[in-house]
């Protein structure tokens, strides 16, 4: 029942995303734009050239960030883990910006997002105390969050330096700092869709192992789980999911934080069902945030990353407040 509601919300989000905006398009025209495209109809052009790509980007980024959030929270056993806060998105973004501005790459730079995300994910886990599991409790929420903001701040400063050095348009800067779905038609949507899809498959494949890991490393090994393999799969999945999302939408924060928590309220606590709910829920929320940003004060547009951060900060506070002092440290 609740899952049906989530899917209905996603459908509503898709429809609103296509029809609402600075130029409202009636439903009939949307269907016609897909089935009987007429290049002379401006409504059809808006749908084909702008809104459909934007919708695709939102679906890719929504799925990617939401599932990455579920995986990161499960593998770190940390309710505050999230690709935006922990600097994984910024790592992907920095690598792409570096490729474009420092190495002079163009289209190929997008692929640098993946090593960037992987390095950032590994770095934040190690810096946050992940390697010290033996002494003093490993990667606690506070440690990870602080390592994340430090890494994030560093990478964002470096992105700013690289972009501002070229005195580029403000929009380029904002895309890489805040994240946005505008100009989605210019992003490599198809390759990133495929990448994220692979990430989704890996995410579901790692789910049983993550459920076992929730009992602690030793218990998981006792149950016959190969913990190293599970972690490696998760790292690969997070890399593909975040990298793909960042290439099409920039480093959007907090979607990956909020969706897993909402999904766990809807689904049972197993990782598989959380992933299954997060799959439609992520893009539904991202689309809602995007539509909100487009209609709240036309003709100006609020970047989806801004809306997400504004709401997400509040969610972060609520989660931090719910934790007992012992869980924080």
């Amino acid at each position: 029942m609740k899952v049906a509601l989530v899917i209905a919300a996603l459908v509503a989000g898709v429809v609103m995303s296509l029809s609402l905006g600075a130029r409202p398009v009636p439903l009939a025209d949307i269907r016609a734009a897909v089935t009987a495209f007429d290049p002379s109809d401006p409504n059809h052009l808006v749908i084909r050239d702008l809104r459909l790509p934007r919708l695709c980007a939102a679906l890719i980024a929504g799925v990617g960030l939401a599932l990455a959030g579920v995986l990161m929270q499960a593998v770190t056993r940390n309710p505050l883990a999230e690709p935006g806060i922990l600097g994984v998105n910024a790592g992907a973004g920095f690598a792409v910006v570096l490729g474009v501005y420092a190495l002079g790459l163009s289209g190929a730079a997008s692929w640098l997002a993946f090593p960037g995300a992987a390095l950032a994910a590994a770095a934040v886990f190690l810096l946050g105390g992940g390697a010290r599991a033996g002494s003093g409790g490993g990667a606690t929420p506070a440690r990870l969050a602080l390592a994340g903001i430090a890494l994030n701040a560093l990478l964002i400063s470096l992105i700013s330096a690289l972009v501002l050095m070229r005195a580029e348009a403000l929009d380029v800067y904002r895309f890489w700092i805040v994240g946005s779905l505008a100009e989605a038609q210019m992003r490599p949507l198809l390759p990133m869709a495929i990448t994220v899809l692979v990430g989704v498959v890996l995410a579901f494949a790692s789910a049983p192992g993550l459920d076992a890991l929730a009992l602690g490393d030793e218990a998981a090994r006792g149950l016959g789980t190969r913990t190293g393999l599970v972690r490696a799969t998760v790292l690969l999945a997070v890399t593909l999911l975040c990298g793909g999302a960042v290439v099409v939408a920039g480093p959007i924060a907090f979607l990956g934080l909020a969706v897993p928590h909402l999904a766990r309220m809807i689904a049972s606590r197993s990782v598989v069902s959380t992933l299954a709910v997060a799959l439609p829920l992520g893009p539904a929320i991202l689309l809602a945030a995007d539509v909100f940003g487009r209609v709240v004060m036309p003709p100006a547009e609020l970047r989806v990353g801004t809306t997400a951060a504004a709401l997400g900060g509040i969610i972060f506070i609520l989660i931090a407040r719910r934790m007992r002092p012992g869980e924080v440290t």
Partner: protein, 312 residues
């Protein structure tokens, strides 16, 4: 302390002499028109603002860190700086002047500090919970600031974006005078708060046992720190990390807690600004980008040290 003051002096001299336009020493000695313009009109007020704003950030950081007994509890990590940034931005968007920007920064900082304290309150303050709440609040506040920016024209928005990452471009003597006045009012209060801080350092129970009104003392010191942050944000933007690293760095130099942090804050800001405008030819980076590049690795190092000591 002497070493720190010498360092500050050297940093100020470097800030005056070096820059995008190279000025030969002979020109400086003769004090010709070019020297007058470059040093007297462009660089001197900029360096003055850097010294004073840096000192204010450093002092505010040291006050909060010792108040919460946690080296991570600086106004930037706790989200106070973002609040001041938002307040200032609101006033800028409404077209306010220098004085009202300071006032806006102050109200933004105070409101953010109150909100974050209230949100982290759960029968008391646990510094780590407050830090986490501050991190979340900073995200929301920065997003609202971004939202305000969309109301500006493109040219204003570019300017605002630079300012929001913390910038000392085009500062004039008016700015220096403004922050100087604020510090003249706030420094005596900082001196007075020192004794209360020394007791708070011993822990709430001991401090109460020694006859300190801890709630009152806390509120006063926090208000002082917020006022310092707001004064600095009004002239330099929400520069990250200076407040975080000034206190602990000063301690490494063996300098007294508050004065040391102020001097280190000034040194770091002047040098970071120098690097931001002089490191890459023809490029003026915002100061905040530079303090971010310098400060974030420091935060990471501090995290790993705190973990080694088992305090985090």
């Amino acid at each position: 302390m002497i070493r720190l003051l010498a360092l500050l002096l050297a940093a100020i001299l470097a800030g005056l002499v070096y820059g995008e336009v190279h000025l030969p020493l002979s020109a400086i000695r003769q004090w010709d028109g070019a020297a007058e313009l470059l040093i007297g009109v462009i660089r001197a007020p900029r360096v003055a603002v850097a010294v004073l704003a840096g000192a204010a950030f450093g002092l505010a950081g040291a006050l909060l860190q010792s108040l919460l007994r946690n080296p991570l509890a600086s106004p930037d990590v706790l989200g106070f700086t973002s609040g001041a940034g938002l307040g200032a931005m609101l006033v800028v968007a409404l077209g306010g002047g220098a004085f009202s920007v300071t006032l806006g920064a102050a109200s933004g900082g105070v409101l953010a500090a109150l909100a974050i304290t209230a949100l982290s309150w759960k029968g008391g303050i646990v510094p780590l919970r407050m830090i986490l709440v501050g991190i979340g609040a900073a995200f929301t506040l920065q997003a609202i600031t971004q939202f305000m920016m969309t109301r500006l024209t493109e040219a204003e928005a570019v300017e605002a974006a630079r300012w929001l990452s913390g910038s000392l471009a085009a500062r004039h003597w008016g700015h220096a005078f403004q922050i100087g006045l604020c510090l003249a009012l706030l420094l005596p209060l900082a001196a007075l708060s020192l004794r209360a801080l020394r007791l708070l350092e011993l822990g709430d129970e001991v401090a109460t046992g020694l006859g300190l009104h801890i709630t009152r003392a806390r509120a006063g010191i926090a208000a002082l720190a917020v006022a310092l942050v707001a004064s600095a944000v009004a002239v330099a933007g929400p520069v990250p990390f200076v407040a975080l690293l000034a206190g602990p760095l000063a301690a490494r130099f063996g300098a007294p807690m508050l004065t040391g942090a102020a001097v280190v804050g000034a040194v770091v800001t002047v040098l970071a600004d120098l690097a931001a405008r002089g490191l890459i030819d023809g490029v003026q980076l915002p100061l905040g980008v530079m303090t971010g590049i310098l400060g974030a690795p420091y935060l990471l190092w501090m995290l790993s040290r705190e973990m080694e000591r088992g305090r985090l």
